[in-house]
C-alpha cells in the first residue's frame, strides 16, 4: 500500500500539559478516504489542525511525526510549511459562511491560492478559476466568479470552498465536518461532489465527522476517536459488520431506529472533559463491560487477526480467558431490530391541538417611510391536528418555516391568519390575560441547550419561574418539592438545583430545559430540534427520556426536526414541509416506507444510511427558493424531477391517498385518474 500520509504517535497538548490529542497513529493511502469518527470534544478537529500545524494559541504539538510523502512535516520550517498548506495538503471547514472572506469576490479568493501554489496569474488564473468552479458543479461560472460570498447559498459556498482547496491540486484534502452545517439534500450533493473529485484526481481525503451515515457513504477506512485517543481502527466494511470496541458498538446501538417499542441503547453520561482522564481506560466510566482493570490501567493497542485495531482490554491477549468475539452486540441488536413493531394506533378523535390554515407573514419594510413592500411567507397555510398522547413530527429543511410554526402555535409570533384551537379554545387573537390562562397547556423545548437557559440563574430559579408566573403550587415549599420531583423525572440529581447551567453538559442542559417546560404540567410539548445540537450518544438519552415522559404523563409532542431517523423513532405521524406549506402527511410507516411526494422521496433518499442502502437515490438539484417570492404553481416544481406543465400553473390541492394520508402533488391526481 502506497502511504501518502503517515501519522505516528502524535500528541498535542495544552500549554498547561493536558493532552488533547493523545498518542494517535494512522496511515492514509493515496486515493483513499479515511474517516475520523467521534463525538464533539474528542479531539478530531485538533488532530486536523495539528496536521496542518495551525494550532490555536495555548495548544502545541508535543511529540510525534507526520510524514507526508516521506517528508516529516512537523520538522519543516514555517516557510516551507506554508507551501504545503493549500498545496499538497488542503483543508475545508465546517461553516462555509465563515471560511470565505466576505469582502473578496469568489474569483479573487481562488486566484489567491492559484497565484501562491501554481504561480498562475491574470487571464490564465481566471480561466483556471472558471474551470475549478465548473468542476465543483456551479452553473453560470463567469457570473459566479465575480460574486461575493453573501450572494451564494450555503451549499454553493461549500462548493467554492472545495474549489479553493482543489486549486492547489492537493494530494490530501482534510474535510472537517464538511456537511454538518448543510441540509440533507445539499449534504448529498456535496458528498457526491467529494466522491467524484476524488475519483478524478486520485486525491486522499481525511474526513472528520460525527455522522455514522456519512462515514458509511464515504469512507474506505475508519478510525473512531474517544477523549483524544483512537479507540478503534478498521476498514468500513469491518467496522460496520463487527464493531469491536464497546464504544463503537454502543454508538451504533444509540442510533435511532424504527422500532418504537424499544428504548434506544443510550450511553450513560457524556464525553469526559479535556484533561479529566484518569489512569484507566477513558471509556471505562461509561462502559458496561468494564471491570477493575479498565479503571486501573490504560489499555494498549491490540491488532486483531482480521486487521482491525482496537484499544480495549477485552482483546488483550493476556486476558485470553475473557476475550469476546467482536460481534455480540451488533448481532443481537440487529435481531431486536426485526422484532415485532407496535402497530400504529388510529389517532383518537379527541384532538388536543387543531391548526387550520395557519399563516405567518413577516412584512418587509423598505425606504425612509418604512413602507411594506412585500412579505416573507414563512408559514403559508399549514393545517395540522395532534391527538392527546401522540407525537406529530414536522419535517423539513432549514428555512422551510417549521420553527415559525412552533412559535406561532405558542403565540410567540403573531399569526397573520388561521386558527389554533388548543383543548377547545382558539388562541389566535386572545388578549394577554386570556392567553395567560392557556399558557400552561403548551410549552416549548428549544434547539440549543446553551442558549435556552439563562446563564445568570440557578437551576431551581429556572424551573420555578414558570410555576411562579402561572401560580402552580401553593407556596414556596410546594414548589421546591415539585422541583425535586421534576429533576427526578428528567434524571438529574436533586443537588443540581443550586448550580448554574454552565456547570452542566449539553445533554444535562437539555434535561433542565425539558424539566422547565414540564414544570407547568403542559399537555403538549413543542420540541424544536431538541437533539440536533447533541452528540449521538446523548441524543439517544434525550429521545429515551422524551419517550418515557410521553408514556408516563400522556404528553403530546409536536416534534420539529430535520433528522428523519429521529422522527422515525419517535413520531406517530409526520408532516413534511416545504417552503411554508405541508406537502405530505401521514403516519410514520406510510411516509417513511412509501413516500408519495417527490420532495419527501428526495429527502428520505438523501439521508445517508449506515448500511449504505437507501431507496432509489433521488438527487435534488439546486436549493430551496426564497419564501419572499415562491415560484408560481407548485412551490417544488423548479427542483422536481417529475415536473409537468400543470405544476407551473396552480398549487396542487390535497389528495387523500388514505384515511391518514394526504399529498399535495399532481402526480397523485393523475395516477388516480389513470386508475379510474
Amino acid at each position: 500500500m502506497n502511504k501518502l500520509l503517515s501519522v505516528q504517535s502524535l500528541v498535542t497538548s495544552l500549554n498547561a500539559g493536558t493532552a488533547i490529542v493523545d498518542d494517535i497513529s494512522f496511515d492514509i493511502a493515496a486515493g483513499e478516504t479515511f474517516a475520523l469518527l467521534g463525538e464533539s470534544g474528542c479531539g478530531k478537529s485538533m488532530t486536523a489542525l495539528s496536521l496542518m500545524r495551525l494550532l490555536p494559541d495555548g495548544v502545541h504539538l508535543k511529540q510525534g511525526a507526520v510524514h507526508l510523502t516521506n517528508e516529516n512535516i512537523l520538522m519543516l520550517p514555517e516557510r516551507d510549511m506554508r507551501r504545503i498548506r493549500g498545496g499538497r495538503m488542503a483543508m475545508i471547514f465546517q461553516e462555509p459562511g465563515l471560511s470565505l472572506n466576505p469582502v473578496m469576490t469568489v474569483g479573487a479568493q481562488i486566484a489567491e491560492t492559484l497565484a501562491l501554489h501554481q504561480d498562475m496569474h491574470g487571464a490564465m488564473a481566471e480561466a483556471r478559476c472558471a474551470e475549478l468552479l465548473e468542476q465543483v458543479g456551479l452553473s453560470d461560472v463567469q457570473r459566479r466568479l465575480r460574486a461575493y460570498p453573501f450572494q451564494l447559498s450555503g451549499g454553493m459556498k461549500q462548493r467554492v470552498m472545495i474549489a479553493m482547496a482543489l486549486a492547489g491540486q492537493p494530494k490530501l484534502l482534510i474535510a472537517d465536518e464538511p456537511t454538518t452545517a448543510l441540509d440533507v439534500t445539499i449534504q448529498a450533493q456535496v458528498l457526491q461532489l467529494l466522491r467524484d473529485t476524488q475519483q478524478q484526481s486520485d486525491m486522499s481525503i481525511l474526513l472528520i465527522t460525527h455522522d455514522l451515515g456519512v462515514v458509511a457513504q464515504m469512507a474506505h477506512r475508519v478510525a473512531v476517536m474517544y477523549a483524544g485517543q483512537i479507540v478503534e481502527q478498521a476498514s468500513r466494511v469491518q467496522l460496520f459488520a463487527h464493531p469491536a470496541h464497546p464504544y463503537t458498538q454502543k454508538l451504533f446501538a444509540a442510533l435511532p431506529h424504527a422500532n418504537k417499542g424499544q428504548a434506544l441503547a443510550a450511553i450513560s453520561g457524556s464525553v469526559p472533559a479535556l484533561g479529566s482522564a484518569g489512569v484507566g481506560c477513558r471509556f471505562a466510566p461509561r462502559c458496561d463491560q468494564a471491570w477493575a482493570r479498565c479503571h486501573a490501567e490504560m489499555p494498549g493497542w491490540t491488532k486483531l487477526p482480521n486487521g482491525q485495531g482496537v484499544r480495549c482490554h477485552l482483546y488483550d491477549t493476556d486476558e485470553a480467558g475473557t476475550t469476546k468475539q467482536p460481534s455480540g452486540i451488533s448481532a443481537s441488536q440487529a435481531e431486536q431490530g426485526s422484532s415485532s413493531r407496535v402497530p400504529p394506533q388510529r389517532s383518537s378523535e379527541n384532538s388536543l391541538l387543531q391548526v387550520e390554515n395557519l399563516r405567518v407573514h413577516f412584512p418587509i419594510h423598505k425606504g425612509i417611510l418604512q413602507r411594506t413592500v412585500g412579505y416573507v411567507k414563512a408559514v403559508d397555510g399549514v393545517s395540522l391536528t395532534i391527538a392527546a398522547g401522540r407525537t406529530l413530527a414536522l419535517v423539513g429543511e432549514s428555512g422551510c418555516g417549521k420553527t415559525t410554526v412552533g412559535k406561532a402555535l405558542l403565540q410567540l409570533v403573531q399569526p397573520t391568519a388561521g386558527s389554533v384551537r388548543f383543548a377547545g379554545n382558539d388562541l389566535v387573537g386572545l388578549g394577554a390575560q386570556q392567553l395567560h390562562v392557556q399558557r400552561a397547556g403548551m410549552q416549548m423545548v428549544f434547539q440549543d441547550p446553551y442558549a435556552s437557559l439563562n446563564p445568570k440563574m440557578r437551576v431551581a430559579e429556572i424551573l420555578q419561574e414558570g410555576m411562579d408566573v402561572l401560580s402552580i403550587g401553593k407556596n414556596s415549599t410546594e414548589r421546591q418539592q415539585r422541583i425535586d420531583e421534576l429533576l427526578d423525572q428528567v434524571g438529574l440529581a436533586q443537588a443540581s438545583k443550586w448550580r448554574y447551567p454552565h456547570e452542566f453538559s449539553g445533554g444535562q442542559r437539555q434535561r433542565i430545559a425539558i424539566a422547565r417546560a414540564l414544570a407547568v404540567n403542559p399537555s403538549l410539548l413543542i420540541c424544536d430540534e431538541p437533539t440536533s445540537a447533541l452528540d449521538v450518544s446523548v441524543q439517544a438519552q434525550i429521545l429515551n427520556l422524551l419517550k418515557t415522559l410521553q408514556q408516563e404523563l400522556g404528553l403530546s409532542y409536536l416534534f420539529i426536526s430535520h433528522n428523519l431517523a429521529v422522527v422515525e423513532y419517535l413520531a406517530h405521524e409526520v408532516c413534511v414541509m416545504y417552503l411554508g406549506r405541508i406537502v405530505e402527511r401521514g403516519t410514520v410507516a406510510e411516509v417513511m416506507r412509501a413516500p408519495h411526494h417527490p420532495y419527501t422521496r428526495a429527502l428520505i433518499s438523501a439521508v445517508p444510511h449506515i448500511d449504505g442502502s437507501g431507496i432509489e437515490t433521488v438527487r435534488l438539484e439546486g436549493e430551496m427558493p426564497s419564501p419572499t417570492n415562491p415560484p408560481q404553481g407548485c412551490y417544488f416544481h423548479p427542483r422536481c424531477p417529475h415536473a409537468m406543465d400543470v405544476c407551473q400553473m396552480d398549487y396542487p390541492k390535497a389528495t387523500h391517498v388514505s384515511d391518514t394520508r394526504q399529498v399535495h402533488c399532481y402526480l397523485e391526481t393523475t395516477e388516480k385518474v389513470k386508475q379510474s
Partner: protein, 462 residues
C-alpha cells in the same frame, strides 16, 4: 462645633449605607457570597481594593463637614465660623495652614521666584528667598538638605513600617485568629494575603515617610498662591469621587432603563428613545453642559438667601454639575445596552420565559438586566475616569466646579497656565496626574476582577 451636612455629603453617606446594606444582605446568601469570595481570593482585586479604600477613606473624612464655634459669644448664643471645614481639614491642618508666598518646587527650601531682598548691609539683593515653612529648620541648606531629607524619610518610613506591623498584628489578633483556618482563603492557591501584607507594609512605610517629610517640607511643592499641592491633591480626591460616583448614579437609570426598553420592546418605543439620544449626542456636549451650567450658575447667584455658607453654594454647584453631566452622558451606555438587548431578546431563554407568559418588566429585570450587568460595570468604571477628565475640561472652560472647590480639574487648569513658563512648573500637573492615575487604575483593576468573578461562564478554579 456645629455639624454641617452638605447635599453631596448626604448622597455619599446614602451610597455608603446602600453598599453596607447590600453587603449585609449578600452575607446571608451563600450563592450571592460566592462571587465576592472569588474576588477575595484574587491578589490583584484585593490590592486594588486596598488602595481604592484608602482613597475612599480620604473622601469620607473630607465629607464630615462642620463649623467651628468662635470664642466670642453673641448674647449667650454660640457664634460659628463662616468657614465650613471637614474632619480631613482638621487632620491636615498643618498642611493647610503652612502657605508660602508663591510657587516652590517639591521638597524645596527656597521659593521658585527671585525677589528683591534687603541684605544686612542695606543693599538690595535679587535672589531666591527662603521659604516661610519649607525647610526652615535647616541652617545651611546646601550642606544639610540632602542628609536631612534622607534621614527624615528613613525615620518616617521606619515609624510607618512599625505602625503597619502593629496594625496587621492587631487585625490578626482581632479577626483572623479565632476563625483561623476556617477561612476558605487559606486553601486557595492564589492567596492574596501575602500580596496584601506586602502592599500594606509598603504603603505604611511610604505614608510614614511622606507624613514625616510633610511636617517640615512641601512634599509636592506649592502653587501660585503658596498652598501646599499635596493638600490640594488630597482635597481633590473627594471632588473626583463625588463626580465619578454620583454622576454615574444619575446616568445609570437612564441608560439602563431606556437602553433595555428600546432593545426589548423595539417598534415605536425604540424609535422615540433612539431619536432622543441621537439628538442629545449630536449637540456638542461641552456646549450643552456649558449652557446648563451657566443657567444653573445664574439661578444660584440670584438666590444667595438659599445658602448659609459659601461651602453650601459651592457644593450645590458641584451637585448640579454631576446632574448635568449625568443627564448628558447616558447616551453611550444606552446605545451599548440597546444593542446587547437586541441580541439577548432573540435568545431562547427569553422566548421560553415569554412562552410561560412572564410579564415584560419581569423578563427585563430577571433575564436581561443580569446579563448586561458586565457591560454596565465596565462602562461605569470607564466613565468614572472619563468624568473626572470631563470635569477638568469644564473647569478650563470656566463652567466646572466652583473656583473655591479643589478638584483635579482646577489643579490641571492651574498647571496648564504655567506649562509655558521657563523653568517649567511641573509639580501641580504631576501631582494631579499621579493621583488620578492611581485612583483610576485601581478602580479599573478592581472592576476587572469583579467582572471576572461574576461571569459564570469563566471556569473558576475553586
Amino acid at each position: 462645633m456645629m455639624p454641617v451636612v452638605l447635599w453631596t455629603d448626604a448622597m455619599i453617606f446614602l451610597l455608603l449605607a446602600t453598599i453596607l446594606a447590600g453587603a449585609w444582605h449578600i452575607r446571608k446568601w451563600p450563592h450571592l457570597m460566592l462571587p465576592w469570595q472569588r474576588v477575595a481570593t484574587s491578589s490583584m482585586g484585593m490590592v486594588s481594593l486596598l488602595i481604592l479604600s484608602l482613597f475612599m477613606l480620604v473622601g469620607l473624612l473630607d465629607s464630615l463637614h462642620y463649623r467651628i464655634a468662635l470664642p466670642e459669644k453673641n448674647n449667650g448664643q454660640t457664634v460659628y465660623s463662616a468657614e465650613v471645614v471637614s474632619a480631613f481639614d482638621a487632620l491636615a491642618s498643618g498642611l493647610k495652614s503652612r502657605t508660602e508666598k508663591t510657587y516652590s518646587a517639591p521638597m524645596a527650601a527656597y521659593l521658585y521666584a527671585k525677589e528683591n531682598m534687603d541684605t544686612l548691609e542695606g543693599k538690595i539683593l535679587r535672589d531666591y528667598p527662603r521659604l516661610r515653612f519649607g525647610g526652615v529648620h535647616l541652617s545651611d541648606v546646601g550642606r544639610d538638605w540632602l542628609g536631612d531629607v534622607v534621614q527624615k524619610a528613613a525615620r518616617g518610613a521606619l515609624a510607618g513600617l512599625l505602625l503597619g506591623v502593629l496594625l496587621i498584628a492587631a487585625i490578626w489578633i482581632l479577626f483572623l485568629r479565632q476563625r483561623g483556618d476556617h477561612l476558605p482563603l487559606s486553601k486557595v492557591a492564589d492567596n492574596p494575603r501575602k500580596a496584601l501584607l506586602i502592599t500594606t507594609l509598603l504603603l505604611a512605610a511610604f505614608f510614614g515617610a511622606v507624613s514625616n517629610l510633610a511636617a517640615s517640607y512641601h512634599v509636592l511643592g506649592t502653587d501660585k498662591v503658596g498652598q501646599d499641592v499635596l493638600y490640594l491633591a488630597l482635597k481633590s480626591i473627594r471632588t473626583g469621587l463625588v463626580i465619578g460616583t454620583i454622576t454615574t448614579l444619575v446616568t445609570l437609570p437612564f441608560a439602563l432603563l431606556l437602553g433595555v426598553a428600546a432593545g426589548y420592546f423595539r417598534g415605536w418605543v425604540d424609535d422615540i428613545i433612539q431619536y432622543i439620544y441621537t439628538v442629545l449626542s449630536s449637540i456638542p456636549s461641552v456646549l450643552l453642559i456649558a449652557a446648563a451650567v451657566l443657567m444653573m450658575q445664574v439661578t444660584i447667584e440670584m438666590h444667595p438667601e438659599w445658602f448659609e455658607t459659601s461651602a453650601a453654594r459651592a457644593d450645590v454647584r458641584l451637585l448640579s454639575l454631576c446632574l448635568i453631566l449625568g443627564l448628558t452622558s447616558w447616551t453611550g451606555l444606552c446605545r451599548l445596552l440597546r444593542g446587547e438587548t437586541l441580541k439577548l431578546r432573540e435568545l431562547e431563554y427569553i422566548q421560553a420565559a415569554q412562552a410561560f407568559g412572564v410579564s415584560s418588566p419581569r423578563i427585563i429585570t430577571q433575564h436581561i438586566m443580569p446579563n448586561v450587568m458586565h457591560i454596565v460595570l465596565i462602562a461605569m468604571v470607564m466613565d468614572f475616569s472619563g468624568l473626572v477628565l470631563a470635569e477638568a475640561v469644564l473647569s478650563y472652560v470656566g463652567v466646572g466646579v466652583d473656583p473655591s472647590t479643589m478638584s483635579f480639574g482646577t489643579l490641571i487648569n492651574a498647571a496648564r497656565l504655567e506649562m509655558g513658563r521657563d523653568p517649567i512648573v511641573w509639580w501641580t500637573l504631576a501631582a494631579a496626574f499621579g493621583f488620578m492615575l492611581v485612583l483610576v487604575l485601581a478602580a479599573n483593576l478592581f472592576a476587572d476582577v469583579v467582572r471576572d468573578a461574576f461571569d459564570p461562564r469563566l471556569s473558576h478554579k475553586n
